[in-house]
């Protein structure tokens, strides 16, 4: 991956604690109410994919009934095309750790759980080093940090899968009858958020520079942009930046898959007049998810690319829920069948059958991807219903799957 310097989170890419404190100052210790005010004013949304308002999550965890509250930082980034959290872990770990510490202190939590990706030992190494630096700097041991390793599977980053991992069980989703903020670890209120969310929070609280972005949406987003060569570049983009300033002309010339493998397709031209903004994008029927941006290589059929991703997602089912275990492979096969000249009926029926029927959002996300492909590319759909689209055959090359 290539990490580019940015205006706020990535002002520095030096992971050293001394540099971090020199740049951003000491860690403040706001009371819960002050922290909530800060978050409310910023409108901070989660960066893990669901874009959930962080203030609501924090408030819920603070008010819910329970003996203790828990704080979990998810750095595991199950989405293969996403590397932004890895970038943060390697280059600005203290920003993430500051954010988690802020929340933990405000909630009265003594222990913070960090969930790192097992397939990137350098991440665990970076965190261990960073934690060592913090321990030396502050001997009071007010906070205890627990480091966990998440499996590389796609669904391992789902909230209930993470709590299962922390509680010593298999790192796969289970049914959760209540949101994690109300009943998560050991049935107690748990604030579980993405690494970048904590980093954004820390940057807000540490202050020291004007917040980039717009008045309506202050702040920035980290994007993982899949390049044609196969690498991924990580960029920090203030809200409100027009997409032509983020993507090259070539990248904008074709369709772009936004939000990763559970995301939505932006047909060519859609992004030209839009900005990197939650409001703009949801208004246009697309979403950023966890900040993954995958421009389609030129001459490629977006439907074939979707079929490839769908096959991957079907293989990534945890296999715990009948509709997902059975339905996703059948959806993948039905879609392949349609591309070879079959009918769309079975595809549409399966989309309806898998969505919303499982312990986690994996079937929903897969259904969303396929539905979005069918809606965004009516010409290609018509072509395949006839006799194929004539685009360059991808063979076995997938859509910009990461070479980190």
């Amino acid at each position: 991956m290539r990490v580019q310097r940015g205006p706020w989170l990535l002002r520095s890419i030096d992971p050293d604690l001394g540099t971090h404190r020199g740049l951003r100052g000491p860690l403040p210790r706001p009371a819960l109410d002050d922290l909530l005010d800060l978050v409310d004013a910023s409108g901070l949304r989660g960066r893990g994919g669901a874009a959930f308002p962080f203030a609501t999550k924090l408030r819920t965890a603070a008010n819910a009934r329970g003996r203790r509250r828990h704080v979990v930082v998810n750095l595991s980034e199950g989405e293969p095309a996403s590397v932004k959290d890895l970038a943060l872990t390697l280059h600005q770990p203290h920003l993430v750790l500051d954010g988690a510490a802020l929340v933990a202190l405000a909630l009265g939590t003594r222990e913070v759980h960090l969930v790192a990706p097992a397939e990137h030992p350098e991440a665990t190494q970076a965190l261990t080093t960073a934690l060592g630096e913090r321990r030396k700097a502050d001997r009071s041991r007010r906070l205890r940090w627990r480091l966990h390793q998440a499996s590389p599977r796609f669904v391992a980053g789902e909230a209930s899968a993470v709590t299962e991992l922390i509680e010593g069980r298999v790192n796969l989703p289970v049914t959760s009858w209540q949101p994690t903020a109300i009943a998560g670890l050991k049935g107690e209120p748990t604030l579980l958020s993405n690494a970048e969310t904590y980093a954004q929070l820390a940057a807000l609280a540490l202050g020291g520079s004007a917040v980039p972005g717009t008045a309506a949406e202050p702040g920035t987003r980290l994007l993982s942009i899949g390049e044609a060569s196969g690498t991924t570049r990580v960029v920090e983009v203030p809200h409100g930046t027009p997409w032509p300033h983020v993507l090259t002309a070539e990248e904008l010339a074709g369709p772009v898959l936004l939000g990763g493998y559970h995301g939505t397709w932006a047909p060519a031209g859609l992004l030209d007049g839009l900005t990197v903004s939650h409001a703009d994008l949801t208004g246009a029927g697309v979403g950023l998810g966890a900040g993954v941006v995958l421009p389609l290589p030129p001459g490629t059929c977006p439907l074939r690319a979707t079929a490839g991703v769908t096959r991957y997602l079907a293989r990534q089912s945890a296999g715990r829920c009948g509709p997902c275990l059975n339905g996703l492979p059948e959806l993948a096969m039905a879609f392949d069948g349609f591309l070879a000249g079959g009918s769309l009926d079975r595809v549409e029926r399966l989309i309806g059958l898998v969505a919303g029927r499982g312990a986690c959002a994996h079937p929903d996300g897969t259904a969303r991807l396929v539905r979005s492909a069918l809606a965004a590319f009516p010409d290609e759909v018509a072509a395949h219903a006839a006799d194929g689209c004539g685009a360059v055959d991808l063979g076995t090359r997938p859509i910009a799957v990461v070479a980190r």
């Binding site: 490839g308 059975n326 063979g395």
Partner: protein, 198 residues
Amino acid sequence: MLDSLTQNLSQGPMLWYLNRGSGVALLLVLTATLCLGILSARAGRARLVPRFVDQQLHRNLGVLSLVLVVGHVVTAVADSYVDIRWWQAVSPVGATYKPLWLGLGSIAFDVMLLVVLTSLARRRLGQRAWHALHVLGYLSWPFAMAHSVGIGTDAMSSWGRQVGLGCLVAVAGAATVRVGVDLLASRRRPADLSGAPL
């Protein structure tokens, strides 16, 4: 008057007949319970009878088994012809009358009690714990059969042997069907995409 009635009852053969009768009925009902339990959990959607019927019948016959075994125990203890005490119904050791065969029956009774009690508390126990204990229920049948062969008055009569054999055939048949159906069903797996290119 009640005294003389009880005295007659405990000294006459009536209790003994009731004990034998309840024993035979129990063996049949327990066998039916076991067969239904084996069959109701089998794979496959093609069914002559809806699953809930199998399951509720299994449950009801299980309760009937418990009622019968209580009657069987009461008549045995109350009958003064042989010396069987109350506590020997649940303890596999310590009996004086045919201690081995009686003990086997006590074990069967213990298991049946365990199964019924845990089933009443199923939601509280949780599925895993409940199931682990429920599977022990299988033991009640061979122990009951052995008990009937060793201690049963009618075990060696021709009709007694036919009853025993019939029960054996029923359980063997149910087990065969269950294993067969489950094996066939497990052959059908969801689509294997391991070879497909991404």
